[in-house]
């Protein structure tokens, strides 16, 4: 009953309105892809009934990295250094590992200065959502090529890009990321479902979202533009996120026409077959479809890879049940007799 009610009314199951998930008004350019991503984060969190106080936001530096101020005002957030949000997030998440971490980065922030930290965050399977708002340029510093810009791209001031691009999804895949997806800011419906799946994932969820920069890089024939994306997007599957408590009626789906992935928290990701069969639990398949997409000049979107049960960062530690940052002084200072024990260990001459 409550379920139905909340769907019809303007409050969600934990009694919050959309407004409770809003952030400060955006100061990014009108039409910037980053803004539509922020809206979808708000929508996803609202619909997933996530308590804003249970979310912590992180970012690096860039237009994209400014975004965390534009959603979830009631969540803590830390806008760190250029390329170094991963380390910041990792340290902060240890403070209370029951928090949902959402990080927002840019293609410059992740694929250039922050490549190292990004890869190590993936390697450790740090449980958080890691969004790259990928526009192929440095927005905030006014339009230089980023490492994801395609070879031959021509920009007004910069001339022609002569280097090959970095594919953030491929980088994530080869570094053992446990969830890798590509979205498109111009495809909000799919994006919201991808975001929900990413939030439900217990591990690092890398979401590379093509997010056009309308000011410096929105030429119709370039990979990171709205128009090109709209014309060339090919969805791997039709993705639907089903929360753990919702019942799905099997009749809704023809047998064999869809794949489902059960997430760690019991929620389901339903992937309805579109063109070809795709198995998102195979890393090598994911690399292959990405390679093909590059050859065939398409923007391939969807959930590329997921391993819902991969061991996470926190599985590698013996953390207390109480969040670390709530431990009382007597829980973090050894008892006095330990001092004598230590002095003896150090060859005390009595």
């Amino acid at each position: 009953m409550a379920l139905i009610d909340s769907r019809l009314s303007n409050i969600n199951q934990i009694g919050l309105t959309r407004n409770d998930y809003k952030g400060a008004p955006s100061t990014l350019c009108q039409g910037c892809g980053h803004n539509s991503i922020s809206s979808q984060i708000v929508a996803a969190c609202y619909e997933m009934n996530i308590k804003p106080e249970k979310v912590v936001k992180f970012s690096g530096i860039g237009c994209s990295s400014k975004s965390p101020t534009y959603f979830l005002n009631r969540s803590f957030g830390f806008n760190g250094l250029h390329g170094r949000m991963p380390s910041l997030a990792l340290g902060a998440l240890f403070a209370d590992n029951s928090m949902e971490g959402i990080g927002v980065s840019g293609d410059g922030d992740t694929a250039s200065i922050g490549m190292g930290q990004f890869k190590h965050l993936a390697r450790r399977n740090t449980p958080m959502v890691y969004i790259v708002e990928n526009n192929g340029v440095y927005g905030l510093t006014k339009g230089q090529f980023s490492a994801t810009a395609e070879e031959g791209l021509e920009l007004k001031k910069q001339g022609v890009n002569t280097y090959l691009p970095v594919d953030i999804c491929m980088e994530a895949l080869v570094t053992n990321a446990s969830f890798v997806a590509r979205g498109f800011a111009g495809d909000p419906k799919q994006l919201k479902n991808l975001l929900k799946a990413a939030i439900a994932h217990n591990g690092l969820a890398v979401l590379d979202i093509i997010s056009p920069c309308v000011t410096f890089h929105n030429k119709e024939n370039s990979f990171h533009s709205y128009q090109w994306g709209k014309e060339h997007e090919v969805q791997l599957h039709d993705i639907t996120f089903v929360p753990a408590r919702d019942e799905i009626t099997i009749e809704d789906f023809e047998p064999g026409s869809s794949k489902e992935v059960t997430m760690h928290d019991g929620s389901l990701i339903l992937l309805k077959k579109l063109d070809k069969d795709y198995d998102p639990t195979s890393r090598i398949e994911a690399l292959k479809v990405l390679e093909d997409a590059a050859h065939n000049n398409i923007l391939l979107t969807g959930l590329l890879f997921v391993d819902p049960e991969a061991k996470t960062l926190f599985d590698r530690y013996h953390l207390p049940k109480t969040p670390l940052n709530r431990l009382k002084p007597d829980q973090i200072r050894p008892k006095k007799d330990k001092m004598d024990e230590i002095n003896k260990l150090l060859f005390l001459n009595e």
Binding site: F76, G80, L324, I332, L346
Partner: protein, 619 residues
């Protein structure tokens, strides 16, 4: 000459020129040959005999094959500083024996393997060849262990010749091998054979003896990195991220080692502290800042090159007021420099660390015991002041084994500073008209309240950034707002002296003072005593924190002039003090150098006396 004179002296007791418990032994070995066990065992035995002893390892930046020296100084008067000459040399390395021969004082002693070929360039020393190969061959030790236990031959011979009791050696070995019978007996067997051989075949013709004393009671043996690690664990450390670098690595490694001993719940297996070996120092500091921001007592440890990489994040932590502790175990820089040599050369770097207007709170431990104390104190100070706190140790303090008074359990409760959880946060709101400003100085002490991740109060969250922000943590480019924020940070910094350790003073109202810090204190105390014997009385002040306390200014004002003694090229401490008391800057005379070795009293005395003659006339 000397040799002739000494030769007739049997192992008797009539000699008045016996040197007892007051000499230096240097072991010249090859890096990676396993001599460390032998050398620490001797040090531990001397320590147990109640003799003040210090051990310094001079090692190359290499894993195996290059020369390494270990020097033990026995000092009945308790001086622990380095000295420049050797009385006894155990020369196990053919490639360095020439150098070692030169370092011996007249009447000094050379122990060496009898198959070692070298030009004897000295006639004024005593020679004791040792049949190392033969003893090892005659023992029943398995061939794979031979190289390793060969060092035990010199342990046995040396003990026999200078009078170290073998029971003491055995108990030191038991300690070392955690009472495992087999390794102890293998080693003791060699030591006994070697001692017996010496007893039967060598005639003592030197003057060096050890005798039991009672001067190490209540002391332990530890290095400063171990001390810092343990102090931090007793200080309620909750998070450590680090990246390997000499000479800091052993600090984090010791934290790792002792988590199960000190911070693990034996019933649940839960650990109350997390350690992460980061991918580099950029990440190590990022993680540490993240953890500190999240409300964990967090530290990282590094040395110069790593600290250079950490600089940007530390500027962010300074401006956004995140508590973190950074241990900088200093080595010789700039650049990779002399990675295995000691220095106090990061003082000005850290003092001014970061772009823009920044100030650093620095603690300067002057002993291993103080490394322990500052280990826990630094965490309290950082959280109290919501600021990075640097602890500047050095390789000599950090990696060498020292005798030091036993560690004392922290005598103050853990100070978490102004962290507010839900209930207290509501009270604070009620008292302040319902509003919370992360950077709002409600108490007028320049320290605002902070909330941390996980606080479930709907008004507790705020957004942290390194860009301009106002009292409510909102983005701001307003010049006035910027200035007000930065002025408060400056006042907070100036008031940090209320929380940091005051200087250690030995002031007898003499005309001349010596100011120093950190491990340079050891040679300075010794120099002070030597100067006294030469007729120059000086007062001492050891700075334990920066910014300086008023006591430092008072000390400078109440002396005609002060020498500032330190281990770097430029006189960095003197520069920093000069800035804090510019009108007396000309009363500060720098005595500094950096060759990678700890300072010696002899060098300090010479420098002081030279300057006394030139600048101030002789007394």
């Amino acid at each position: 000459m000397q040799k002739e004179k000494l030769k007739g002296n049997p192992m008797s007791n009539n000699s008045s020129d016996r040197k007892i418990n007051d000499f230096v032994i240097t072991f010249g070995t090859v890096n990676g040959s396993g001599s460390a066990t032998a050398n620490t065992t001797i040090m531990r035995a001397l320590f147990q005999m109640g003799i003040p002893v210090s051990g310094k390892n001079i090692f190359p930046s290499n894993i195996q094959g290059l020369p390494t020296w270990y020097t033990l100084r026995l000092s009945k008067d308790g001086y622990l500083a380095r000295v420049e000459e050797d009385d006894i040399v155990i020369a196990m390395n053919p490639s360095t024996i020439r150098k070692e021969l030169e370092s011996l004082v007249p009447g000094g002693v050379l122990f060496y393997p009898d198959d070692l070929k070298f030009d004897l360039t000295r006639e004024d020393i005593v020679l004791y060849p040792m049949p190392v190969k033969k003893i090892i061959k005659d023992s029943d030790v398995t061939p794979t262990l031979r190289d390793y236990v060969a060092n035990m031959v010199y342990v046995g011979v040396l003990c026999q010749m200078i009078g170290i009791k073998l029971e003491m050696i055995e108990s030191a070995l038991n300690f070392h091998f955690k009472n495992k019978e087999k390794p102890v007996s293998i080693n003791m067997n060699i030591i006994n054979m070697a001692a017996n051989w010496a007893k039967e075949n060598l005639i003592k013709t030197d003057r060096y003896w050890v005798e039991p004393m009672k001067n190490t009671q209540g002391c332990i043996m530890s290095d400063g990195n171990t001390a810092g690690a343990l102090g931090s664990l007793f200080g309620g450390l909750q998070f450590c991220a680090w990246y390997p670098i000499t000479p800091a690595s052993s600090l984090a490694e010791t934290i790792h080692e002792f988590i199960p001993v000190l911070r693990k719940d034996n019933e649940t297996g839960e650990e109350s502290v997390v350690i992460v070996q980061a991918e580099d120092e950029l990440a190590a500091i990022g993680m540490t800042v993240g953890a500190g921001w999240g409300g964990l007592r967090a530290l990282t440890s590094t040395s110069g090159p790593g600290l250079s990489l950490m600089t940007e994040y530390l500027g962010l932590a300074y401006y956004s007021e995140v508590p973190v502790v950074i241990w900088d175990v200093q080595r010789v820089g700039p650049s990779t420099g002399l990675p295995t040599r000691t220095a106090q050369c990061d003082l000005t770097f850290v003092y001014f660390l970061g772009h823009g207007d920044t100030n650093s709170i620095i603690l300067l431990p002057g002993s291993v015991n103080e490394c322990f104390e500052f280990g826990w104190k630094a965490l309290d100070i950082a959280e109290r002041l919501q600021s990075p706190v640097f602890v500047l140790s050095d390789l000599d303090l950090g990696m060498n084994e020292w005798i030091t008074p036993k560690f004392n359990y922290p005598n103050l409760p853990i100070d978490r500073g102004k962290i507010l959880w839900e209930e207290d946060f509501q009270k604070m709101l009620d008292a302040n008209g319902g509003s919370f400003g992360r950077y709002n100085d409600v108490d007028g002490d320049n320290i605002p309240y902070r909330t941390v991740v996980g606080n479930q109060h709907p008004k507790a969250a705020y957004f942290t950034r390194g860009t301009g922000h106002d009292r409510f943590a909102n983005y701001s480019e307003d010049g006035e707002v910027w200035m007000q924020g930065m002025e408060r940070l400056k006042r907070k910094y100036e008031h940090s002296v209320e929380f940091t350790p005051t200087p250690e003073l030995d002031d007898n109202h003499n005309r001349v003072g010596i100011i120093t810090s950190g491990s340079a204190y050891f040679p300075v105390i010794e120099a002070r005593d030597i100067l006294k014997n030469k007729g120059l009385n000086v007062d001492l002040l050891r700075i334990r924190a920066l910014p300086i306390h008023d006591q430092v200014k008072d000390f400078i004002k109440s002396h005609d002039y002060c020498y500032v003694v330190e281990l770097n090229r430029d006189g960095q401490l003197q520069q920093i003090i000069s800035l804090s008391i510019p009108d007396k800057a000309t009363n500060l005379i720098s005595i500094s150098k950096m060759d990678g070795f700890p300072l010696t009293a002899k060098w300090i005395v010479n420098e002081v006396l030279k300057k006394e003659e030139v600048d101030h006339g002789t007394n």
